[in-house]
Structures are given as structure tokens and as C-alpha cells.
């Protein structure tokens, strides 16, 4: 399995990285274990496990995965949604909760499975207002006001 070889290599590198990062912290002794004791031990365990994974993958004894191939439409939906979510995280504080939630919903509703514009606007408006009311008023969560000022 090619993917297992790649994952095994990445995990091995990660284990090495964690081990090195933890080396800046005191390890202590078995008698008095310190801050780096547990992470370093885990890094060694992780490295051993990734070696087993690599060995299994190279020997080709692994059972096949049941996940099927993702088509280009699927990748588009995933990419577009992720971009929208990251955009939301960036826009939340400058734009404010209401506006960014509205935009988030518009983008998601259009890209995942293009709904009609009327439906998009209606659902986006309703969800942003309802969630705002629920969280800001009912639960008293401080939501960023942003450019709209509310």
C-alpha cells in the first residue's frame, strides 16, 4: 500500500521532531521523571509503531481499505468548503458575527450543492439571525460585533 508507506514515513519524521523538541526540556531520571520523560518515551513508541507500519506496507500484507476514490466534484466540494471555513475564521472578528455567518452560509449553500438563490438567501438569513439570537441573547456568549456594530 503506497499510502501506508507515505504515512509511515511522515509519522517517523514526526516522532523524530517531537523527540528533538522535547530534548530542550529536562528529562530527569527513572527515579525522578521530569517534563520530557513522558513525551520522549511516547516519541520512541511512535517511531517503533511507524517502523512496523512501514514494514507491513513494504511486505504488502495489509488489508485493502474500503474507502472509495473521490471524484473531482467531491474534491471541489471539499476544497471550496474548507476555503470558506478558513475565510470565516479570518473574517469573524473584523466583519462581525452576523455578517460573516451570513456570508459563510451563502458560500456553503452555493458550493456544496447549488441551491437556488432565493433559498440560499432565506436559509442564510434565517440561520445567522437565529444563531445570533440564541448565542448572544439566550446564552450570553460575547460575539464579535465588527463593522455592523451590533
Amino acid at each position: 500500500m503506497r499510502s501506508d508507506i507515505a504515512v509511515g514515513a511522515i509519522l517517523l519524521a514526526l516522532a523524530g521532531y517531537i523527540f528533538l523538541t522535547a530534548s530542550t526540556l529536562p528529562f530527569g531520571t527513572a527515579r525522578v521523571p521530569q517534563t520530557a520523560f513522558f513525551p520522549k518515551t511516547l516519541a520512541v513508541v511512535l517511531a517503533s509503531l511507524s517502523l512496523v507500519l512501514l514494514a507491513q506496507a513494504l511486505a504488502g500484507t495489509k488489508v485493502p481499505l474500503d474507502s472509495d476514490k473521490i471524484g473531482s466534484a467531491g474534491w471541489f466540494r471539499i476544497g471550496a468548503s474548507l476555503a470558506t471555513l478558513i475565510g470565516f475564521a479570518l473574517a469573524l472578528e473584523p466583519l462581525g458575527f452576523l455578517l460573516s455567518t451570513f456570508l459563510l452560509m451563502v458560500c456553503l449553500l452555493r458550493t456544496i450543492e447549488a441551491q437556488s438563490w432565493g433559498k440560499v438567501i432565506a436559509v442564510a438569513l434565517a440561520t445567522s439571525l437565529i444563531t445570533y439570537g440564541l448565542f448572544a441573547w439566550l446564552l450570553g456568549v460575547p460575539l464579535p460585533a465588527g463593522v455592523l456594530g451590533i
Binding site: 526540556l25 517534563t35 516519541a43 513508541v45 512496523v52 488489508v63 471539499i78 468548503s81 456568549v141
Partner: protein, 501 residues
Amino acid sequence: MDILANVGLGFTVALTPTNLLFCFLGALVGTLVGVLPGLGPVGAVAFLLSLTFKMEPASAVIMLAGIYYGAMYGGSTTSILVNIPGETASVVTCLDGYRMARQGRAGAALGMAAFGSFIAGTFGVIGLMFLAPLLGRAALSFGPPEFFALTLTGLTLVAYLTQGSMIKALVMAVLGLLAGTAGMDPISGQERFTYGTLTLRDGFGLVPVAMGLFGVAEVLDNLARMGSQSVYETKIKGLLPNSQDWKDSVRPIARGSLLGFFLGILPGPGPVIASFVSYAMEKRLSRYPEKFGTGVIEGVAGPEAANNAATAGSFIPLLSLGIPTSAIMALFMGALMIHGIQPGPLFIARYPELFWGFIASMYVGNAMLLVLNLPLIGMWVRVLKTPYGILCPLILLFCLIGVYSLNANVVEITIMLAFGIGGFLMRRVGFEGAPFILALVLGPIMETSLRQSLLISRGNFSIFINRPICAVLIVLTAAFLIWPIIRPKKERINHSAKVTK
């Protein structure tokens, strides 16, 4: 008499109007989550965790528990009607439940699933009531070595019981433990792996990580395989199973309840395994095993009973030992700790109203689900028809707000998205999120108990084999690790693959 007084106390807590309302809400949301394929109980509990901050601790656990067992009910509805399991514990219900629906016996299947769940749920609660205090008392003598061994055995068993590759599950567990070390050293208070950020000083938050792995990743997975689904149009008539159905189902329900309860106590996805084992057992015991898969009611009643009894059983290790055994129990532990309540051997003695109120609410909730769900099945079917194009944006929005409302911190949204992407990619190559979440929560317990043990023994590792309980657990752990090498579990994988199809 003691128990009666305690149960009485429990009902005075559970039957207050507020707690009744939260029990109802939990059961309702749970059923909804069970019905909708895009979101599982873990994601829902993670989302609602942020809403429980301002509640009384009792109301919080009552509502969250309602979600958990409500999801078990809801999941079976979609298995039977549409052949789509709402969550994994209802996968086997598809086999005979959907066949029954195609033969026009959807009502009997749904009814028996609900009654079986109710009977088993009640049985499980009674078991929990008797066993948890016993185990809690026994655990009072546990020291750091025992707790270290328990966490180690728990994680290994979770990996051993996984349906995919054990090595991959172990990798996820170790990664989770590593993620759990970020933040302050639990003993010396020194910071590690915080990369100078304030957010990571308290470590990775359970909610952002859980929402990422079980909310965002789940939605991404759905986006990848989005296709058209058809709801089987059928008139559901006669929800009451007839007397022959009852005669066929009584024994499977009784066996499923017992089996599920004890499998639920063990670490791992108890309800899922319980339903699979129950199905296999009923098939083996049946006088007509060849008919299984063509729509026999035993194949619905047994597994449905088993998965509900298992939900009750899975609370035992958390409440009496303070050790969560599955992703969802890890979230329950988080919910309790937010309120400053440490589950463990002293939990029941210290918070009797909370423990008994919670138990009583599970009786109430199970009864509520039975009364509510049978008439509401038509509504759930309509909910199921919500197109993905609307459902997915809504779930993503809930994840974003749920995480943000915790601490009003955008960095936590970033953490959630990172774990969402990571979790999705890992899932594509066969790594599951559940061991990770569990290990994230167990990590600090494991590290503290390991280091304390070594301090006690002056660095001598034999402390873990010189104490009897500890030694048994260590031997078990070794057995779980070595057994798959001696006997690869090809059979089980083939079996579950067949069942899923």
C-alpha cells in the same frame, strides 16, 4: 433499602421540571443526531458541551446522556427504513430490519427495536446502579500504578477491538497521548509544546479537537461521497409487534441486554461491538440461521437491545474509576471536569444527587424515548430527507459557533479546522479518530500516574508487576498486543466488511 433511598433521591433530582426538560431535549437531539447520517453522537455531545457550561452539573450530564442513548434509538430508525445506519451501532440492524421494511413489516421492526432498546436500556441502568458503587469502593484501594495500568490496558484494548488495523489504532492512541502532553506539565507546571501561544498553555481543548475529528472531518467525508439517496416510501402501519414477534424476540432481547451490558463496560466502541456480537450469537443459536438477513425479527431485537444496554454499561468505568473508555465517555469526563467534578472512586460518595439523579434520568429518558419516538417516526423520516446541500452547511456552522462560544477564541476555530482536515485525511488512509480523543483525555492521567508510580518505587519498574491487580492488567495488555501477531484477525475484518455491505 439503601438502594431504594438512593433511587428515591435520584428521582427527586431527575423529576424537577428543569431536568425533565433537559432530559427531553437530550433525547430529542440524540434521536435527531441518530437519524441524520452526517453527524454522530460524539460530534453532537462535543457541540452541546459548550452549552452546558452555564447549567447545573446534573442538568448537563442528564442532557448529554440523553443524546447518547437517544442516538442509539434514532440510528435504528434509518437503518430499518432506508438501509442507512445513522450511526455505527445500528449497522447490523440494516441486515434484517431493512428486509422487514421491504416486506411491509417496517412497523413491527421499528416497534421491536424501540421496545428492545427500552427493555435493555432499563436493564443496563439497573446494572449500572448496582455495579458502579461496588467497583467504586473496590477502586478506593487503587494507587498510581493501578491507574497507570488501567489506562494502558484501556487504550490497548480499544486498539485491539478496532475494526481496522490495530497498528493504526495504536498510532492514533500514541498521537493522542502526545497531543495530551501539550501545555503545562501536570506535576511540575513547566510548559511544553506550546510554541509561545496562550491558547495551548492549557493544552489542546477537548471540544475543538473532538469537533474537528468528529464534526468537520465527518462532514468532509460526506462531501466526498455525496450522492443521491432514496428514502424507502412505505406506509408504516401497526407499530405494535404481534404476539409471534414477541415470542421470537424475548430471548434475543434478554441475551442482548446481558451481553451488551458487559461488553459496554470494556473499553472501546462498546455499543458497536455489542450489536455485532449479538447478531452473530442469535444467528448461531437460531433454529433457522439461513433465514438471517432475509428479515427475521430476532436480527433486529437482539442487536438493538445489545447496543442500548452497552451505552449504560459504558458509564461504569468512567463513574467508578474515573477512566473513560471511549471517545464519548471522554467528552462526558470533560463535561464533569468543566464543573470542577472529578469522576473516580469517590464520585458516588461525594456527589450522590448527581450520580443517582443521572441514573434516575436514564430511566425517565428511556421511557420518554419509547413514548415519543413511536408516534414521531414519520417526522424523523421527513428530517432524513433534508438534502446534504443544506444539512452540511448547517453542521459546519454549528461546529464553528460551538467552538467559538467556548472561549471566544478564533485560534480554537483554527485548531478545530486543522484537526478536521487532519482527521479527514487520516480517515482516508484508515486511521480512526476515536482512539485519539480517548488518549487525549487519558494522557494526563497516564503521565501523572506513571511518574508518581516511579517516584514511589524509586525508579523501579517492578512496581507494575509486584502488585496483583496491576500485574493482571499488564499481562492483559501484553496479551492484547501479542495475540494479533500470533493470530491475525483476517476473519473478523472480512466478517464486518461483509456486514457493512
